[in-house]
Amino acid sequence: MSSAERAAGPQSEGFKIRWGDLAPFIALAMIVLLGVLINSNFMSGNNILNVMTRSAFIAIIGVGATFVIATGGLDLSVGSMMAFVTGIMIMAMNAMAPAIGVWAIPAGALVALVVGSLCGLMNGMIITVGRIEPFIVTLGTMGIFRAFITFMSDGGSLSIDRSLRSAYRPVYFGDFLGIPYPVLITIVIALVGAFLLYRTKYGRRVTAVGSNADVARFSGVHVGRVRTLAFVIQGFCVAVAAICYVPRLGAATPTTGQLWELQVITAVVIGGTLLRGGKAHIWGTVAGALILEIIANVMVLSDMVSEYLVAAVQGAIIIIAMLAHRFTKAR
């Protein structure tokens, strides 16, 4: 598909390319406008902050997914990985709480980061060493992580110790100069991600590998390592999302993070990253996550759609957003 598109329209000038890059932000603006028109409460400070805070999970995981997808990979396991990491983190915090009290929170967060990165490493190693399609590997590990969290929670739920609750709460509900922490964390992760992707050797190699793996190999790039590291970054981001998630919902259950993988991939693609790899837009991904969250929010705020049809309207809006995107680009 992609190459056909490229050939179809002659686009070479810097100016045009920049229009394309702006597309997700234009779509975002349009959807915000829609929200304003539909419900006057949409723009209320609280609502906007809520939506932004909430989109943090998909945005943070999406930053990692941008790396994976830019290398030409795909990770379907992020949703269940997130549930699994959340579970491990809660167990670690609960175990440490009696001994070290509130310090169990940073210690548990550290555990989460390590476990998340290791999960990513596992995905990456199976894919690169075993040379199997990422789609299949991560579909497999998706089942594995999901089973583990079901097992760990005994089919029920795994909740954080009451003694830690209030100390941990601000990580989701608190703010710094009026900006909620999850939003700040998203910005930091996106900034670091953008730096890594656009300003370091590793980032260069990520897009090179996704663009043409053979060329990268001939140029001395360790293709397998670059790919694996992208999955590790993905795992790390999943852990960061888990750290923000726990204070919000206080527990991990067998349904935590279900179907997030699809939302994450959608956010990345709406953001302008190509699924075939070779091109990556960190900030586009963040915009994509916001778009998805705002669509859901507007659905709740408006009373117009029957409960049964909400999913249809969401699906339609995503397709329309992409069509708009395409036409902005075609100009």
């Binding site: 609280n46 919902l249 206080g250 067998p254 349904t255 179907l259 409960e307 049964y308």
Partner: protein
Amino acid sequence: QDKEFTIAVSIPAATHGWTGGVVYHAQEAEKQLEAAFPNIDVIVSTASSATAQVSSLEDLSATNELDALVILPFTSEELTGPVEQVASNGTFITVVDRGLADPSIQDLYVAGDNIAVGANTAKWLVDKLGGEGEIVVLRGIPTVIDDERIKGFRDVIDETDIEILDIQYANWNQDEAFTLMQDYLARYPNIDAVWANDDDMLLGVLEAVDEAGRDDIKYALGGNGMKQVIEMVKAGDERTPISTPYPPSMIASAMYMTAAQFAGQAPMRGSFKLDAPLITPENADQFYFPDSPF
């Protein structure tokens, strides 16, 4: 009387039969309430996951002055904090079915008795099987509800000589239950009875058993009062002579009781647990709602 009241109703989306029933009853109750009390505004919102439900709580309370919230939590633990948040604004809280981890948050609680659903079914079965035999069990989506039903059932069975050959998840899904039952049948040459802890699954089970033409299965039981199953009970089906109610209409009851707070009638607080009596051919009519989708 001049004051306007807003009641938000937050329920899981219709992902399977029972939740479909919940959505149906909530919408019916919304219509009736709004017709009966012009000063009450009911907003029904469905959510397809715990996270989405938390989000919709935030949305509802950020953009409306909520006087009351009726919630059927997706999961117990995860919704506890967020509901507490809503309660702290002085909103009246009614919890339905799946309880919160901290009951002190709610003003009103309406639920079925899941332990009893399991236990009553088990007692009946023990009685019919004479305290011995081999059975298989299908369980739902990993949740507290499912755990309680299984626990209620197991606790009774464990006291007897009945052996539970196998328990597996079929996610309250008809298809998965069909498949799972076929495999049970292939594996166990003799099965005296099957219990599926939800009627959606029971339909799949029956199909598989009929198809295999196995007559060793004396009883195939479900639970929670699906229309088709009540019909079978009414018709005096030999294999499925009983069921236990777990009516999705409990959401409507909860909504009426909540509205009563504002309609100036007797304020209601506390816990209302619908018990789980056996539905038998004799009393089945009481549990039969031909218009409900469930």
